[in-house]
């Protein structure tokens, strides 16, 4: 009686565990599966493809060959003697960009925005969080609470004023301006999180370690660079990955500011545009999605211990 009860409870336990794992992983498996399936295999409900096709990846990454038939027909049109030069130039220009979806370029854009803004955020946040955790100064408590407030504030609320500010400062109608403005917006979205997580961590570092350093003649600034930063490596990695992911994910502001500047688009807006650009594009969409996911997964599984610790401390956003 007792042992059969135990067996049943074990079965229930493992069924529940398998169900929850399946629920979590199924959409990912579905994505990867469709990305390698041939078009005729797509309606096949099985996750395992009949054959593995990497054509979608090749096309997305720009390794696929240029459509010969199309270029031949363009050549024929260009041979037409009635064409005036301006028309000829227009046609050439239209077909000049053979790949209208330079995925590697979009990936690079996302990477640049995410990493540069993370470095700026973290550099500012390390010093500010130290001061907020360790030093007493007028306006500090309002600053601590302010940090939390902005940490919970959503992007939608700042959308209109930021657009108006960008327009007034002449930053949103040229590439350089938009690049600087977007970078600042990325920093703005990550800095509260960095301040909050680093501040929590710094306060738990025993003060005696710093005192010892100061007795040895270290200045406050040297204490930060020589004692605090080396001691905080795990949290710095965690904060870096969190900030990078926020940047890599960003959609709202990129869709507002970067859309008019084709080659500056980030992954998130580019993939969404790709989805609505052609019919029957599932395989390439899934390949693009998988490639977007890959760096995040690499980060996550490399630093999973740090990430999990950061999450249960409540230092998460979203």
């Amino acid at each position: 009686m007792n042992s059969s009860k135990k067996i049943i409870s074990q079965i229930l336990l493992y069924t529940a565990v398998i169900a929850i794992v399946a629920f979590c992983l199924f959409p990912f498996l579905q994505m990867v599966s469709v990305s390698v399936k041939d078009i005729h295999d797509r309606a096949n409900p099985s996750l395992i493809p009949k054959e593995i096709h990497l054509d979608a990846y090749k096309e997305i990454l720009g390794f696929a060959e240029v459509d010969e038939a199309q270029s031949a027909s363009i050549q024929n049109i260009l041979k037409n003697p009635n064409l005036i030069d301006a028309q000829r130039d227009a046609i050439l220009k239209k077909y000049e960009n053979k790949n209208p979806f330079p995925f590697p370029r979009f990936m690079l854009n996302s990477f640049i925005f995410a990493t540069v803004s993370t470095f700026i955020s973290m550099t500012c946040a390390i010093f500010a969080a130290y001061a907020m955790a360790r030093m007493e100064f007028r306006g500090m408590s309002i600053m601590r609470r302010g940090t939390l407030f902005v940490y919970l504030l959503g992007g939608v609320i700042l959308m209109v004023p930021l657009y108006q500010m960008g327009a007034k400062l002449g930053l949103i109608n040229n590439k350089v301006g938009v690049f600087i403005f977007m970078m600042l917006i990325y920093v703005m979205q990550t800095i509260p999180l960095a301040l909050y997580m680093l501040g929590n961590y710094f306060r738990d570092i025993p003060y005696s370690i710093e005192e010892a350093a100061m007795i040895d003649g270290c200045t406050k600034l040297q204490t930060i660079t020589k004692i605090i930063i080396p001691l905080s490596k795990p949290i710095l990695v965690t904060v870096f990955v969190y900030c990078f992911i926020i940047g890599w994910n960003e959609y709202l502001y990129a869709s507002v500011f970067l859309k008019p500047f084709g080659e500056m688009r980030t992954l998130s807006i580019a993939i969404n545009e790709l989805f609505f650009s052609k019919n029957d594009i599932w395989d390439r969409i899934m390949a693009a999605s998988t490639l977007t996911l890959a760096p995040v997964l690499v980060f996550f599984f490399t630093f999973s211990k740090n990430m999990v610790a950061g999450m249960s401390d409540g230092g998460v956003k979203g």
């Binding site: 336990l13 493992y14 929850i20 794992v21 979590c24 992983l25 199924f26 959409p27 579905q30 994505m31 469709v34 309606a43 409900p45 500012c124 500010a128 007493e136 500090m140 302010g146 940090t147 939390l148 407030f149 902005v150 919970l152 504030l153 959503g154 939608v156 609320i157 700042l158 959308m159 209109v160 004023p161 657009y163 108006q164 500010m165 007034k168 600042l184 920093v187 703005m188 003060y207 406050k220 600034l221 992911i245 890599w248 994910n249 959609y251 507002v256 993939i271 969404n272 599932w282 999605s289 998988t290 977007t292 996911l293 995040v296 996550f300 990430m307 999990v308 409540g314 998460v316 979203g318």
Partner: protein
């Protein structure tokens, strides 16, 4: 106010501390300066500017005409604004409720002993970290009427639903998919926070309850629940604040679901652009979010 931690007790050391403190204040401001500048220029100032803008009619060329409360009047007489509030409430109830229940259930499950527990605990966090843009199309595919597994099972195999059902395309059913998606994406945080709390519950409490003859439900109800009540409340409040602000997930998965965020975005950037109206809608949303945040900071967080 004076910070009393690590301040000496004798008068002499107090004076010394004060002198150091004065020098420190300059350094402190130098250290926080850049961060404060970014937060002030890109968050605090825009928040105030938004309130100001909500009293203006903003032209496409950036011209501003003072209109008083007209934007708010327009907002309150706009039926789609009210329907977006209603949509947001449904979304919040479904997504916060579902996230909390699944997060709680998973936390209880992962607190038990079983094989491969460490790897399972890690795997189920992946949905939270996955970029929205990279998973949203996987979800769209599942419910695609032609190729998707959902229609394959429920229409082609079981015949419960019409084969032409487009769960995401149909505004009446898209909400269900959105709620399911939100639960899938955000229950890992709730689960982790509750699990962290569960792990420090004193085991002796359960033993004592068992000795008193409490069954599994009673142990949960009278031992576990009181212990985790606080974190449960915290996660519900935070999830409500965050989902109230949510934009990307909804806009990319099913933009026909007009929550407040989508309503504001569309007013500001698509169709007939009315940024003044959008500013007033943002401000109303800020009030709701702000009440939640202030409550969180004051009552829950001792920072």
């Amino acid at each position: 106010m004076l910070n009393t931690t690590s301040v000496g007790t004798t008068n002499k050391s107090k004076t010394k501390k004060l002198v150091v403190k004065y020098k420190d204040e300059k350094l402190a401001w130098a250290l926080v300066g850049p961060a404060v500048f970014i937060v002030t220029a890109l968050i605090a100032y825009p928040t105030l500017l938004n309130i100001y803008l909500s009293f203006f009619d903003i032209g496409l060329d950036g011209s501003r005409t003072f209109v008083g409360l007209a934007n708010y009047q327009n907002l309150l007489s706009n039926p789609s604004y009210f329907s977006s509030i209603w949509t947001t409430i449904i979304y919040l109830i479904g997504s916060v409720g579902g996230t909390t229940l699944l997060g709680l259930g998973t936390a209880l499950l992962m607190n038990m002993e079983f094989k491969f527990r460490a790897i399972v605990r890690t795997i189920i966090i992946v949905p939270y970290f996955a970029p929205v843009i990279s998973v949203v199309f996987g979800w769209k595919f599942i419910f695609d009427p032609v190729n998707g597994i959902f229609n394959y099972i429920f229409a082609d195999t079981l015949g419960i639903i019409n084969p032409s059902t487009n769960l995401i395309g149909d505004p009446n059913t898209a909400m269900w998919v959105l709620i399911l998606f939100s639960i899938w994406k955000y229950f890992p945080i709730t689960y982790l926070i509750i699990l962290a709390r569960l792990q420090i519950v004193d085991k002796a409490l359960y033993e004592a309850a068992s000795l008193d003859g409490a069954n599994a439900w009673q142990r949960f109800r009278y031992v576990t629940l009181p212990e985790i009540e606080f974190v449960l409340g915290t996660t519900i409040l935070l999830r409500t604040i965050w989902n109230l602000n949510r934009f990307e997930d909804i806009y990319l998965l099913a933009p026909q679901i007009k929550t407040l965020s989508i309503f504001t975005y569309e007013q500001a950037f698509t169709g007939v652009i009315d940024q003044g109206l959008a500013a007033s809608a943002s401000f109303v949303q800020l009030i709701f979010v702000g009440v939640g945040i202030v409550y969180y900071i004051k009552k829950i967080l001792k920072w």
